[in-house]
């Protein structure tokens, strides 16, 4: 096979067949994919035994650079979509993946990304069961873009949603803020900070699963693009309630805080790829914190604020003065996931 991706590998001919067999089928290897049909055929009985609703979601991944400390575009394409399923309470089961490749992409780069996807999915008990590959002329995309769609099953009785949020609820976060955003920023903008920055990119389903048993979990969401600020605004809009966050309570890695202090940025607006924001009945606050802290992904879980009745998102600073926490108009850093 060529050492670089050619247009022929996306046009439906023999070159494409070879690429699919050698790179994708080989790495993703599972019985549903191995049937070789144009579609994956999903056993309904397995689904209905696990719950009473399907969760279905899709996301595209265009992160630049493709590889970064703590992950790569392949790992991200599995984690991101799996997490969008998991925050509904669903167990992520199956993913599709669509690749758009730039002509001339080193084959080894593609193989590394695909291996990373396969490993991440396998470790999370997720199967990649159908896919598509396109190759476009040099310059028509930047190296490699991935789309994944995912299916999962929501167990009976799990009814998380924004509408359940009430004034007085506690706002919890599963760990430190902004690790992914700060890592990409440092790398992409050649800031050259030799800081201990690693993306938090991870499949959160195992952290979320134990929360299903706790009554009083109102809703949760993974705080990706736009960071915690964006989710607080979504919760505020969706529930009509206000959100008040305590600056002193925000868990932050020193390296991330350093990046923010140096550049005048706010970690609350940085993307995360392995953190959930939870809204919890005060009676269940401790149970939720304990459940999360028992998992390595939730070791730094903390309560960061409280739901109010004033319909505003606010931040109480370290001297007790409360101010509006504005949602930035545009993404400070494009192509972060």
């Amino acid at each position: 096979m060529n050492k670089q991706i050619t247009l022929a590998q996306g046009n439906g001919g023999g070159a494409m067949q070879t690429l699919i067999a050698d790179v994708f089928i080989n790495a993703f290897d599972n019985p549903l994919l191995a049937t070789g049909e144009d579609q994956a055929r999903l056993p309904l009985s397995e689904l209905t035994a696990a719950g009473d609703r399907l969760a279905f979601t899709t996301d595209s991944y265009v992160v630049d650079p493709l590889f970064f400390p703590g992950g790569d575009i392949g790992k991200l394409a599995v984690c991101g979509t799996a997490n969008d399923l998991a925050v509904s309470g669903a167990t992520p089961r199956w993913l599709s993946c669509g690749f758009i490749l730039e002509e001339g992409l080193p084959l080894e780069t593609l193989k590394t990304v695909v291996r990373s996807m396969a490993d991440t999915a396998r470790n999370a008990g997720i199967q990649i069961i159908t896919g598509d590959t396109k190759v476009v002329p040099r310059g028509a995309v930047d190296k490699l873009f991935i789309n994944t769609a995912g299916l999962g099953v929501i167990p009976r009785g799990v009814e998380w949603g924004v509408k359940a949020i009430r004034p007085g609820d506690r706002i919890l976060i599963s760990g430190t803020l902004g690790d992914h955003g700060a890592t990409i920023l440092n790398l992409r903008e050649n800031l050259g900070m030799e800081a201990d920055l690693t993306s938090d990119c991870a499949v959160l389903a195992p952290l979320i699963a134990p929360l299903r048993a706790i009554p009083g979990i109102r809703t949760l969401r993974d705080a990706t693009r736009g960071g915690v600020t964006a989710i607080l605004h979504e919760f505020c809009r969706g529930s009509g309630c206000g959100m008040q966050v305590d600056e002193a309570a925000l868990p932050l890695k020193n390296a991330v805080r350093g990046v923010c202090e140096l550049l005048g940025l706010d970690a609350l607006n940085f993307a995360n790829e392995g953190k959930i924001l939870l809204m919890v009945d005060p009676a269940s606050e401790q149970a939720a914190l304990q459940a999360m802290r028992q998992h390595p992904l939730g070791r730094d879980a903390a309560t960061i604020g409280e739901v109010t009745g004033d319909g505003q998102v606010r931040l109480r600073g370290i001297y007790g003065v409360s101010r509006v926490l504005d949602l930035p108009h545009d993404e400070p850093l494009p192509r972060i996931c």
């Binding site: 903008e189 050649n190 800031l191 020193n254 805080r257 350093g258 202090e261 005048g264 505003q312 600073g317 370290i318 001297y319 003065v321 409360s322 101010r323 509006v324 504005d326 108009h329 545009d330």
Partner: protein, 371 residues
């Protein structure tokens, strides 16, 4: 975190606020007739809003948010000239992130990029020089903006370009100097500003001496101040103490960073490359004498405006915008009829909404709900 947390300690802040309260009680200022202090720099404005410092202070003390944000006072016509240069196919235009969003009459550099111009964000002028070296077939223009804080870096980048024999690198000079603006502010009628929190970063370069004009000629005390909450409060306390003691002088709160004489190496580099003479237009403030910074004759081969000859673009400020009145303490951002409606950070109309450090942008970000 070292060098950060020790300057934010709540106990220290509380103590400083108590002492400021004590001193203010020894003066005749009241909530109805407050002592107006101008914090010149946008960095200070931002810190005051972010930490809510003004809400901790007595109502007899009022901050006036000054002109010290180079993006805020950038005239729209200068952006138009830059956009014109950026649209040339052979040009790569580099600048700081904040400058990319500033709207000219025909959009910002960001919109020029959407229309095909090669506009790149850099964190340092040296990054722009590196891009010039990587692309010897293109002409790389650095849109140089800022007070004396960023001027030395621009100067040294040109020195580096000359030393390395780089001939495809140019500078669009929008540097500005602080003192002419402050002098012009103080010469306006009905301005009640009584003292200045002087910008720490500019002072790190220029030192304390230039402010002597304000204390000796205009009889307004000045304290060079750092950017952390305890810095700002201590600077304010030092000003209050000058009023109580009946002194009027230049003091330095930020001694851990600002030497009395400034940074001589940086001053030397600036002086070699730049010259300040002639009048220059400031957004929101109009034309100010002796405030035009340009390249010295010996460096004009690097001057982007000489090389590309953009059309002159005078653009008057919109008469409805009250930027000038906000800058001089005559009104608050929310008093402007355009604030929050016609003029927002997404669609900035006036100078002070353009940069995140502008007084109106800070007010919009932190205080909108109270407007």
């Amino acid at each position: 975190m070292r060098f950060v947390d020790e300057y934010r300690q709540p106990e220290l802040v509380k103590g400083l606020v108590a002492r400021i309260n004590e001193r203010m009680q020894q003066t005749t200022y009241t909530a109805g007739h407050p002592l107006q202090i101008m914090e010149v720099c946008g960095g200070h404005t931002h810190a005051i809003f972010k930490f809510g410092l003004d809400k901790l202070l007595p109502p007899s003390l009022e901050f006036i948010h000054g002109p010290g944000c180079p993006v805020c006072v950038l005239p729209a016509g200068r952006i138009d000239a830059c956009v014109q240069i950026a649209m040339r196919p052979e040009v790569i235009l580099c600048t700081f992130g904040d400058a990319m969003r500033v709207p000219g009459r025909n959009g910002s550099l960001l919109t020029a990029r959407q229309q095909g111009a090669d506009v790149r964000m850099v964190w340092s002028p040296l990054d722009a020089l590196a891009i010039a070296k990587q692309h010897p077939d293109r002409l790389v223009v650095f849109f140089a903006i800022g007070f004396e804080t960023t001027m030395p870096a621009s100067a040294m980048t040109l020195q580096q370009a000359r030393a390395d024999g780089v001939s495809n690198f140019f500078l669009f000079c929008q540097h500005i100097t602080l003192m002419p603006t402050l002098k012009s502010l103080l010469s306006q009628p009905d301005v009640r500003i009584e003292g200045f929190i002087a910008p720490g970063h500019v002072s790190m370069v220029i030192g304390q001496q230039p402010y002597a004009y304000i204390s000796d000629v205009c009889h307004k005390p000045v304290v060079v101040t750092g950017f952390e909450p305890t810095d700002i409060l201590q600077g304010l306390l030092m000003l209050c103490e000058q009023y109580v003691d009946g002194r009027c002088t230049v003091e330095n709160q930020y001694r851990r960073v600002v030497p009395v004489e400034g940074n001589l190496l940086a001053q030397q580099a600036m002086d070699e490359v730049f010259i300040t003479e002639g009048a220059s237009e400031w957004r929101g403030l109009g034309v100010i004498d002796d405030s035009l910074v340009s390249l010295r004759p010996d460096w004009r081969s690097y001057d982007a405006e000489l090389r590309f000859q953009p059309d002159p673009q005078p653009v008057a400020d919109d008469p409805r915008a009250r930027c000038g009145a906000v800058l001089t303490g005559r009104c608050k951002p929310a008093d402007c009829p355009l604030f929050g409606g016609v003029c927002t950070p997404e669609n900035a109309f006036g100078a002070l909404m353009v940069s995140s450090e502008g007084a109106c942008a800070a007010w919009y970000q932190y205080r909108r709900s109270e407007a």
